[in-house]
Symmetry: D2
């Protein structure tokens, strides 16, 4: 396993292909350090005895101890540990841990490449396992590039006026493929080792050129990254973890980039029988990613509830019934969302590749509820913290000669709490509520991993309404037989069967 220092050294060696404000910059640019600071938790905690059990795993390929973020889930326990690790690390950085994209992408690829081989006789799974071994051994950070720019939203890829609105293979060569297109709204690319590109939707027969998945180093030739950093306001005097983090969103352009064969994991242009697997891969990544959200969303809610509860204590109102009601609302949501993620692990199915797939109805139902509530949670935090969360004077005023004494005098509330701690509390809330990164957290809380609308669609495409209607038909006397009494959703098992010819194994047949 790498250390954070190794990771940083590696980043420093990469070719500059990132653009900010009209300039091409390297990976050591100051504006990326907040993001790297978050990744640091994933390296440091894997070496920290208190977190080691959560943050490391044993590779099923090599038997070596690896960072859990490079692991493929081979059991229910793996899914539970991944979820818990996500929650715990998000607590430590006040929100998104950013490295889940990699683990979610490799899990989806592990399942799908196996299926492609069984359906078409190819050897993509071996290719992928070779790549995975490299990924694990080098303890890499990956960015998963899924969301295409999409052009006209109501047209399919091949119907667009400009055919490049979805990432596509423009040429098949003997040694690899040439790809063109752009992915946007991608987190962490500016400080990731690798970019793993996967499709964003189902592809029809006419969209075969768009059925493509591959991995490249993030400074690869032909890859251009337009980066948008967002940071909380930095501190001079009162250092705190919440002020050190950051986010960088990327608009990644593949400008006729060449990808060698051993890094290509789906190619509908070469073999159209692979085309339907584009949608399967898209949904499977989404499922793993939404399962990760059952770890990070509760943590985000808890960070918000925690800050709100602390502000309420410092404001002296923590015993007011409306305060309790509001905080309990957030906590209840966090608990339900986390429990849904745990149950989706208990109900997981084992794919033929041996990798476990969590229950899709639950991952979607949980992500949907969390997404619908994120703005309300910010509202509650601002409500309980008060107007100061957006109007707190800058940090210097609390330290400068002419103003320090007055500023510290007048920020005082609960007499038992020092001015410095009250200041720290509202400075921290200001970081959460009132800076560039706030918007990223809000919008990502709504859209990241798919917006509530997408989860509704996914949930309802998996959920079989006919047996549900059977309940009413029986009760209303339209059908005589009682409804069958198991929930009737389409399981990963059945979803897989659409694409290949075998059946994953039910882990807990009774759930």
């Amino acid at each position: 396993m790498r250390t954070f220092e190794d990771y940083q050294k590696q980043l420093a060696k990469m070719k500059p292909n990132i653009y900010i404000g009209g300039e091409k910059v390297g990976r050591t640019d100051e504006r990326f350090q907040g993001g790297a600071r978050i990744i640091k938790e994933t390296y440091d905690r894997a070496q920290d005895p208190r977190y080691e059990d959560l943050c490391t795993a044993t590779s099923h390929l090599t038997g070596e101890k690896i960072n859990r973020f490079t692991h493929v889930h081979r059991s229910i326990d793996d899914l539970l540990k991944k979820q818990e690790m996500t929650r715990v690390l998000c607590h430590l950085c006040g929100g998104c841990i950013q490295r889940c994209m990699g683990i979610d992408a490799i899990n989806a690829l592990d399942v799908v490449t196996y299926e492609i081989d069984r359906a078409t006789g190819s050897d993509y799974h071996a290719r992928f396992e070779k790549y995975l071994r490299y990924f694990q051994e080098n303890d890499l950070v990956a960015s998963c590039a899924q969301t295409d720019v999409k052009g006209d939203r109501l047209r399919r890829p091949h119907e667009q006026v400009d055919p490049d609105m979805y990432l596509r293979i423009v040429e098949n060569r003997s040694d690899g493929i040439v790809v063109r297109g752009a992915k946007n709204c991608i987190t962490n690319t500016a400080y990731a080792d690798e970019i793993i590109a996967i499709p964003t939707r189902f592809m029809t027969d006419k969209d075969s050129d768009y059925a493509v998945a591959f991995a490249v180093p993030s400074d690869w030739d032909g890859v251009k990254i337009l980066a948008r950093p967002a940071n909380p306001h930095r501190r001079k005097h009162l250092n705190a973890p919440i002020a050190e983090i950051g986010d960088v969103e990327s608009f990644i352009i593949f400008d006729d980039a060449f990808v060698p064969n051993d890094r290509v994991f789906l190619n509908g242009k070469l073999d159209p029988r692979q085309t339907p697997f584009a949608g399967f891969l898209a949904l499977l990544f989404a499922n793993y990613h939404r399962h990760s959200y059952t770890g990070c969303k509760p943590a985000t809610s808890e960070v918000i509830a925690s800050a709100a509860a602390l502000a309420a204590e410092y404001n002296g109102i923590e015993r007011e019934p409306h305060v309790k009601e509001k905080i309990s609302h957030i906590i209840g949501l966090a608990e339900l969302c986390y429990a849904a993620g745990q149950m989706s692990a208990y109900r997981a199915e084992c794919s033929p590749s041996g990798t476990y797939i969590p229950d899709e109805i639950l991952t979607n139902a949980a992500r949907k509820l969390a997404g619908e509530e994120i703005y309300n949670e910010y509202k509650i935090m601002a409500d309980l913290a008060g107007g100061l969360s957006a109007s707190l004077p800058f940090e210097d005023e609390f330290f400068a000669k002419e103003t320090a004494e007055l500023a510290n005098k007048y920020i005082k509330r609960n007499p038992k709490i020092s001015s410095e701690n009250i200041h720290r509390c509202f400075r921290g809330i200001e970081n959460l509520v009132s800076s560039d990164i706030t918007s990223v957290m809000q919008v990502a809380g709504l859209h990241g991993g798919g917006s509530p609308q997408m989860e509704t669609i996914t949930m309802m495409s998996r959920y079989d309404l006919e047996p549900l209607k059977g309940v009413a038909k029986y009760l209303f006397g339209i059908e005589k037989e009682p409804p069958r009494y198991k929930r009737a959703n389409v399981t990963p098992r059945q979803m897989l069967q659409k694409f290949a010819k075998f059946t994953p194994k039910r882990v807990n047949p009774d759930l």
Copy 2:
């Protein structure tokens, strides 16, 4: 195990002590048959091979096969099966299965009588086990009488102007106790074999007389039951399960009733050291009951979603996006609530009596969300079914000579569905939406087992906010140490420790 016929014969023998409309009536009164019809499912399905595994269990006292509704949970699997049984049987009667009160009361008493003995050296647990053996062998239906009439809501029991506003022991005799008071909003008493009375709240030292729990046959001397039946509109022509059910709510008066010692399970008047166990018993019953709600509330939501989906199909609008969004909303809630109940079983703790207690935070969070949404679910059903759900002509009009042909002609919608089935669909929805029993379902959906306000209070009294605030304190630099990374709620283990001197065993130490 009894059959439904045995149960009915037994009811027929009971003394009349039920009052409706100014008259004293027996248990065979027509107005109670809808309720008994629901209880029928609990007897019939225990004998039905398709449901036997769910609906029966093995007594830990006798090793005999018993109806699961008389069973005490000795494992996680018992909790999971009880939850699933509840959901499945609720599907079969379109809502509340009504017999959960008994199982929830005996589980709470099993845990608490054991604790009382350990704290005070008494032998209540043996008493209770003797009663439980009788209860299991005779396969009894119990009504749990918890909610006192409460008088002035802001005063404690001993502060009331009339001291009888909470059920109390007015006399301790050598052979038993004399009790006075009333319990209201109690389901199923009119066709239950037994009434199990337990406290409704915590009791202070001054409230010792009110710390009382016991069981009596429901036709016991000194017990008067004011019953309020509520039924859907009955049918003449188109029979259907949904039209056969019913509910009876009771206002139970204990008019100086004598209870012999072997049926007394808590007596703070005799031994004030028992007084604090009143609150523990109240909360523990609530916890088991809210766990039962994680079975019945998803089922109720699914009945509603099922009816709404069927109406949408028959109205020809099932593919409209707003219809899918509304139905998916209900389904998502049902899934989250059910998953929370399952996880609360996985996180159960084993009490010293050997009986399992589900996680309280989750049972409360799930019940709270379900309670908050029940009116919204009715709104969605009425929305998708349309105005006819409250304005459908009576059944006869569809069969009487002068009107049948016209009524059946004009109710036609989706041309593929027969008039009769369309009629059945809207008649069924009318039963759900537009009759006396509707209000009971709505109000019970909100208040039954405790209103959302109560769940907020319970949840927040279990949830330890200080470690949660630790997250913000760490992030804001107020504390240097990272927060401890387990959820920090007060477990049943810790709750028990308040009352007795030992520790339940964690079943899954990692959850």
Copy 3:
């Protein structure tokens, strides 16, 4: 003006053509008396000096004093008075006053018949004014039959498999028309003098046969009424207005009924140029009706808030913050909805016929909000009243020898309030929350006058989004000119211009 007694005598003379439970019954049937009791308020209050100013008006046709429910709005003040009358009378009967359908229908017909004449050279307005004079002189109650049974919801009238799914003209005769079809979900028909039938939607050229409006006495040949009464539980001992009211919903079948020419107000089959006026009439009635809802919905909300506040007082919890928050929520909605109705009157336009049309955006926005909140209001009432609202023992138990003393003892709460008044309070709430009529109030609160979905569609078809987008275009630098600063909705003026060739007069040009 008639008295209530005159009205009743008139009803008694009508031919029986109403079917309940397979029998044909007359207008004096006991089951209709609850509805008639509501209509009584509209007669009695017109004679009551305290309400006379609100409940009477001066006919613009005859200069005579008439009941306001037969009046056509000739000024802003008329609209304001109608709204206030509606609110006040709804307070007196605990909900829907039921006679608004007539006034809303005659206002819409007054405007539209005038327009038809101007567009086609016909003389329908004179016909209508003759009818209106008769209507006013005889102080008639009208039921407006708008909602067709509609068959397959996704097909237009002429596309249905059975062409009778929308009311249509099957034959034009020299002396009148023959109509066939059915209208459902119609309030008050069983005790109305007249049925006024109008279209339910826009009609295309191919739907000309369905562009029809007319009035007939409600016992007319060929008219069959399938009636569904819904009443609160009646009282024996504690009489109260809330227990006396009732509702009857009708499914009205026009079984080849003949309508003489002087009662026909729209006939697309005779003159296809009239066809587009079907949609105009449908929307205009909806607009007047939604304006009436800005009177009755605040009243309904206030009845609910009033009952909830009284229960809170009697329960002793009225000073609890959550109680205030919940009641203030309902009150705030009522106030906003009422104010919107008042402003829609202030912004009214005067149609060429001289009749005033309230602002459509506001009537729709207000009705939409009210409809979305109705279930939530019931939830709040049940929340604050508690479980007793659905489980109160029957009235007799509080008076019968064996139970009266105990029942009255145990219902006691706030010691300052007598048992009788506490009983009255919960008996009243039980009438509101737990009886057949509850469902009608809930479903009508959602769907009556058009569901929130319909108001969204209407609102957005009137609201011109392009000028709104102009705000963003200006702010974003896409357009240099500032947006025009008046709200840019399509006014009745513009709506009228689609159908005829002139312009209504703006009453308040600045609003």
Copy 4:
């Protein structure tokens, strides 16, 4: 009337007493120019013939034409025009117009100083009118400093450990007063001519020292301003109004500042009979300010709806039903809120000073609804605009040589819209959604002018629940008399009567 240039020249002359980042800066600091840009609209539009009627008024003191922002409302029309001006100018700067604080403060002082004189025989009204004349003639911008820092929220001013937690008079001198304390969360002070300080709450007899109101120039001796600017990201290439604006929130410290008598308008330390007027002034300012919110909140909602609708068009999804539903939700709220403000003007009462006071129930109900919905509106905007609203690459990337072509190619959506306009649209939305000023808009939308909780309290303290309960008492048979049929709120008339001995005149006695 001044021009914007005059205003700026005046600012440039002021003494530096503003602190940012540890430095003392002057009013011409670059970071204040976004705020001044907003104030510019209030000067420019007063000179613009298209807006002149709205933005100017005639002084009741001098008969001169003045900027409406310095005017005291002498009629219903004045209130309506102020509301409309607010809405229109907010459209032009994409949110808060910031100058309303001044007009709201002078209106409240005009009413209250008159009342103080009548109650105590003082001459404060003449003092105030002299100040008002100066204010109007110099066309001044005022910041209203109301919100005290408040220390421990559960203690009254005199109970605080540090007595300076609320602004207080520390010394009465013959020529004036010396004040000490701090006000926070104050908008616009950094570019305002004047600070008008008023109390934040009711004051008891023991809080007389805290009953103080006065005006001083914002660079007055002893006044220190800790300023926090928040701006959208500025542009280099695509200029647009939305990118030019800004906000500055201030923490204002009165460090033993001397205020001469002719600028003191309330002094409870000098004459304790004035103390109760502190609360009256606080509430009256809040009422005027909430009435201003009925202009700015609809405008803010419309800006959001406008941007969301434009993004939906450019994304090609504007005809999707869920898009229409979401946009109509915002529009409906805006319309209801605006109509409530208009009706509160129509229902205004004329205070004895001749100044009009809008209806308090409506201003509070409208502000409450708007405050509760602001986060939901941002959610809808982010929902319809998509993830790009928080991840759009920086502006330079669309113009720099290496990236411009690619960036403009891949941002393309609706093929009919140029890349530049699509870029402008998302750049504008990014300004709204993703920058420092976003948080200020969100938090101000919730808390500005009082949070929903405050409006609930104010509304319920004005609304007389007893007559409302009369509705239920009548319906339930507890009282025989029908309820009185006017809404029973405490009017400004009655509120005034608490403080002084006369009655304002009802303007529209029937509303």
